[in-house]
């Protein structure tokens, strides 16, 4: 095991999958010679050549449309969209085709492609570079939407996404790329898509989060333990859609208190569906209303003010206390 950043862990996943299966092709803007603007594909071009690590012209929709064709033909394209804010250019290719070709051909074809894209704020980026819009993808039948929360889950989930027979949107939190290191085993490791996990056990309150927000959520849980003696359970969704509601429903049945933390805008965001599931499946266990600590319903401000937009440990603990005191 080596301690790795998330960028290194993702790189490891790509490298090993490319070694394992020559159908795996990496493509996108600047993924080749340059190694990707965040260096996730660093060294792959040297190792696998320009036939398998493909620098494309500047057209996200072209990249995705071409990937669909490649996948239908039997390849396993892993395309990088340089920032998730530019993946709306290819929204119709995902909505109208990638997510449906299995259905559109009644099972004859399928689209085993992965669309990787960095998302979220916190890295002093330019306009249009810091959004969290996973809810768009989560609402599309036939698609999977995955967001790892650290190096180890990133590596294991990316491997699973590449091997998955269906199209996967894979969001990588920029804020986590180099934020910390984790032990990542050299040998193969996968995590099943569509399964959440308990990131921290607890009895009094269930905090549900994912991606970049998992860490502040965990910190808030620590703080609540230390300062308030409150034992918070933390659920890491890992897959946003199809949404695994089993763990968080079970947890809330135990704790009676639930709160969701995400960076995406609140209204019509992922938290709403989690609340809907809890209402459907754990209504009678809920002692108080479910809380949402999320981005506000505005465009995330440029970086001078983004820390006030992104849920912080303080906002999470503040809201958790409010819920517990209700």
């Amino acid at each position: 095991m080596a301690k790795m950043t998330m960028v290194q862990a993702l790189n490891l996943a790509l490298r090993q999958e490319m070694e394992r299966d020559e159908n795996v092709i990496v493509l996108g803007e600047d993924v080749g010679v340059d190694g990707g603007v965040f260096r996730v594909t660093d060294g792959l071009h040297e190792a696998f050549g320009e036939e398998r690590v493909v620098d494309t012209p500047l057209a996200e929709n072209g990249i995705v449309g071409m990937s669909i064709g490649m996948a239908v033909y039997g390849l396993r394209p892993v395309c990088e969209i340089q920032f998730s804010g530019f993946a709306y250019q290819n929204f119709h290719q995902i909505e109208n085709h990638a997510s449906r070709l299995r259905w559109r051909s009644q099972g004859r074809y399928h689209v085993p492609m992965v669309l990787r894209a960095p998302y979220g704020g916190g890295v002093r980026a330019l306009e249009h570079h810091s959004e969290s819009r996973e809810a768009f993808w989560a609402h599309i039948p036939g698609l999977k939407m995955v967001i790892p929360s650290g190096p180890r889950s990133a590596r294991a989930l990316l491997v699973s996404a590449i091997r998955d027979p269906d199209p996967v949107i894979f969001y990588e939190a920029k804020a986590l790329y180099r934020a910390f290191r984790e032990e990542v085993p050299e040998e193969e490791e996968t995590l099943p898509l569509g399964e959440s996990r308990i990131a921290r056990e607890g009895d009094d309150l269930t905090l549900i989060s994912y991606g970049a927000m998992l860490r502040p959520t965990l910190s808030a849980a620590e703080q609540l333990e230390k300062e308030d003696g409150v034992s918070a359970e933390v659920i890491d969704l890992l897959t946003i859609s199809p949404l695994d509601d089993t763990l968080f429903v079970t947890s809330v049945k135990k704790t009676g208190h639930a709160m969701i933390v995400h960076e995406a805008p609140m209204s019509f965001g992922p938290g709403a569906e989690i609340i809907a599931r809890l209402v459907e499946k754990a209504f009678y266990y809920l002692e108080v209303p479910i809380g949402r600590v999320t981005g506000y319903d505005v465009v995330i401000p440029l970086f001078a003010r983004e820390k006030d937009y992104i849920p912080s440990v303080e906002r999470i603990t503040h809201e958790a206390r409010r819920i517990l005191e209700t």
Binding site: I25, E51, V54, T56, P57, A59, N61, G62, V64, G65, M66, S67, I68, G69, M70, A71, V72, Y73, G74, L75, P77, H92, Q93, N96, H97, L101, R102, W103, R104, S105, Q106, G107, R108, Y109, H110, P141, G142, K144, D164, P165, D166, G194, P242, L243, D244, D245, T246
Partner: protein, 365 residues
């Protein structure tokens, strides 16, 4: 203001072999074997007659909306005819004759246009994508398929079809550009039928031809008389050879005409004149091909009648079979199939809910 002219590579030609009366330009004769000529003729007649029958069924409420192909048989069939079985065809929605040529059953067409998802099933062995309704969106898929063929060092080609209207879409631009950059074995067949619903070709783009758009991507482009099946075939065959030799993609503009309505929901009288339609009826691709075949002595009046009769029989049989299949009560639970490889729990639950609810109401009623 005087300045230096840039020496641009690329030249756009126009190809026409059979004129409107079926007279052949011998110097350009692609010399297809008689057997193939007859097969193509039959396929054109099948396309035309099937169209007629579908229109009939639609008017009787026995199928839903569909886009007729009448007048465009040469434009898509001539191109698809150069494909091998292991080549791929990526259709739009107005290539029925070519789809049937490739092996799609008439039953599947009828079912699809009558709202049954089963009609979308692509059988093993036929390497075609299903119809694509979002205009232009499919062309990139052909580029990806062609990319994969090149990657696997297979001498295959991927042929995409689309209309004149589709050339306005960003997708099609990106497809041409990617194909040029990656030099993939793709053939882009534009059925320029002069109209995109009510928008005439001249309002779709200001370029004189569609073919010249190839110059923007440094790829080969050619304009052909799309009502001349020999010209379409010859251009497509040349493009296929280029593709198989690793010499990159080709854009073929087939100049043709949609003689019927856009779809059965459309009323072309609102936007175009009868005279225009009539002037194109004179250029009918089947009529001229028939004249040529007669002239060449490959077919006579009896043969023509035979072809028509046998085509009608086949169509009748297909309609009967399809209607029988559709009459068997459709199982709505089928809608949960083919969404994912493995059905996730929430879909299982929804499927179960629908199943139970149907049982209940079935019992209640």
């Amino acid at each position: 203001m005087p300045r230096k002219k840039i020496d641009l590579p690329g030249q756009i030609d126009h190809l026409s072999i059979l004129d409107e009366d079926g007279k052949l330009d011998e110097s350009l004769d692609p010399g297809l074997p008689d057997e193939l000529l007859i097969k193509l003729y039959e396929a054109m007649v099948l396309g035309r007659e099937f169209d007629r029958r579908m229109l009939n069924l639609q008017r009787q409420g026995r199928i839903g909306t569909f886009p007729p192909i009448t007048g465009q048989e040469a434009a898509h069939l001539g191109a698809a005819a150069v494909l091998q079985a292991d080549d791929w065809m990526v259709p739009s929605f107005r290539e029925t004759a070519a789809e049937l040529w490739r092996g799609r059953s008439m039953e599947s067409v009828l079912m699809a246009f009558n709202g049954f998802n089963e009609g979308f099933h692509v059988e093993e062995g036929r390497n075609d994508l299903p119809n694509s309704v979002p205009v232009g969106s499919q062309v990139l898929h052909a580029v990806g398929i062609a990319w994969a063929m090149k990657y696997r060092k297979e001498k295959r080609v991927a042929m995409a079809f689309f209309g004149d209207g589709a050339t306005s879409q960003g997708d099609v631009h990106e497809a041409f550009n990617f194909a040029g950059v990656f030099q993939v074995p793709a053939i882009f067949v534009c059925q320029n039928n002069q109209w995109a619903i009510s928008i005439p070709r001249s309002q779709q783009t200001r370029s004189k031809t569609i073919a010249q758009k190839a110059l923007a991507y440094g790829i080969e482009g050619i304009q052909v008389d799309g009502n001349d099946i020999l010209a379409v075939y010859a251009a497509a065959a040349e493009a296929a050879e280029r593709a198989r030799n690793g010499d990159g993609p080709t854009l073929i503009e087939c100049v043709t005409y949609r003689l019927m309505m856009h779809t059965t929901a459309d009323d072309p009288k609102r936007y175009r004149t009868e005279e225009e339609v009539e002037s194109w009826q004179k250029k009918d691709p089947i009529h001229r091909f028939q004249s040529y075949l007669k002239e060449k002595g490959i077919i006579d009046e009896d043969g023509i009648a035979d072809v028509e009769a046998s085509v009608k029989d086949r169509i009748q049989e297909a309609v009967d079979t399809a209607e029988k299949q559709m009459a068997e009560t459709p199982d709505p639970l089928h809608m949960f199939a083919h969404v994912y490889d493995t059905m996730p729990p929430h879909l299982e639950a929804q499927r179960e809910q629908l199943a139970q609810w149907r049982n209940n109401t079935g019992e209640e009623e």
